[in-house]
C-alpha cells in the first residue's frame, strides 16, 4: 500500500493550459505539503496544510492553487501554465509540522514530472 501517492507521474502539456496534480496519503497524518524541484535539484516548499488549514504559503505565483478537501488529500491546480513551471512536483505528509508540537519526518510521493511545451 503506497503511503503517499500522487497522480499523474508524468504530465506533458502546452503553455497556457490548466492542469491538476492529485495527492493522497493513507498514513493518518495531519500535515501535507507541496514542493517543487527544479532541474538543478533545488527543492523548495510551496504550500503546507495542517488539518485542511493553509499554514505555509511561500512566494508562489497565484496561478498555483492548492486545495485540501480533507486532511488525506492535497491537490495542486495550476492555471495558465508557463515554460518555467516545468519541474518535478512532490507531495509529502508528516504527523506534525513546523514550530508547533512534534515535527516529524516528511513522507514523500514519487513525484510528478511536469513538462510544459
Amino acid at each position: 500500500d503506497t503511503a503517499v501517492s500522487q497522480t499523474p507521474k508524468y504530465l506533458v502539456t502546452q503553455m497556457g493550459n490548466d492542469k491538476s496534480i492529485k495527492c493522497e496519503q493513507n498514513l493518518g497524518h495531519d500535515t501535507m505539503y507541496w514542493y517543487k524541484q527544479d532541474s538543478k535539484k533545488f527543492l523548495k516548499i510551496m504550500f503546507s496544510y495542517n488539518n485542511k488549514e493553509l499554514i505555509i504559503n511561500e512566494t508562489v505565483p497565484n496561478r498555483f492553487s492548492p486545495k485540501s478537501p480533507d486532511k488525506a488529500h492535497l491537490n495542486l491546480h495550476i492555471n495558465s501554465l508557463e515554460l518555467g513551471d516545468s519541474a518535478v512536483y512532490f507531495c509529502a505528509s508528516s504527523q506534525g509540522w513546523g514550530r508547533r508540537g512534534q515535527n516529524t519526518e516528511a513522507f514523500f510521493g514519487q513525484g510528478t514530472r511536469l513538462t510544459v511545451v
Binding site: 514542493y35 535539484k41 533545488f42 527543492l43 503546507s48 515535527n103 516528511a106 514519487q110
Partner: protein, 109 residues
C-alpha cells in the same frame, strides 16, 4: 531567517572510502528539527534521520552516522565504507520547509 547551507555541490569517492557531507543551518528558533533525506537516481525522496535541537547526541545507524553540533550550527552526515548504492543526492533540511541545495554523492568502483 532560516537557512540551510550545503556547501559541497558534488563529491566523488571510490567505493569503501569514508565521506562526510556538511550541513550548516541558521535559525532564531530555540526549538527546531533537522533532517537528512536521500534522493537516489530513481528520484524518490527517502527520510534518513531527524534530530531535535535538544538532543545533541550523535547517532549511528549501520554505516551512517550524524554529528550534530549546536555550537557550530552544523549537522554533518558521514558514510563509512561507501558503496555504489550510496550514490544519490543528499538533502539536509530545517523543519520541513527549509531544504539545503543538496550534495550529489558519486561512489565509483
Amino acid at each position: 531567517a532560516q537557512k540551510v547551507t550545503q556547501a559541497q555541490t558534488e563529491i566523488s569517492v571510490v567505493e569503501k572510502e569514508d565521506v562526510t557531507l556538511d550541513c550548516v543551518y541558521e535559525t532564531r528558533d530555540t526549538t527546531y528539527y533537522l533532517f537528512w533525506y536521500k534522493q537516489p537516481p530513481s528520484g524518490e525522496l527517502v527520510f534518513l534521520i531527524r534530530r531535535n535541537s535538544f538532543d545533541e547526541q550523535n547517532e549511528i545507524s549501520g554505516r551512517y552516522s550524524w554529528n550534530f553540533q549546536k555550537s557550530t550550527s552544523s549537522f554533518n552526515f558521514t558514510i563509512t565504507a561507501s558503496q555504489v548504492v550510496d550514490s544519490a543526492v543528499y538533502f539536509c533540511a530545517l523543519f520541513s520547509s527549509g531544504f539545503g541545495t543538496g550534495t550529489r554523492l558519486q561512489v565509483t568502483l
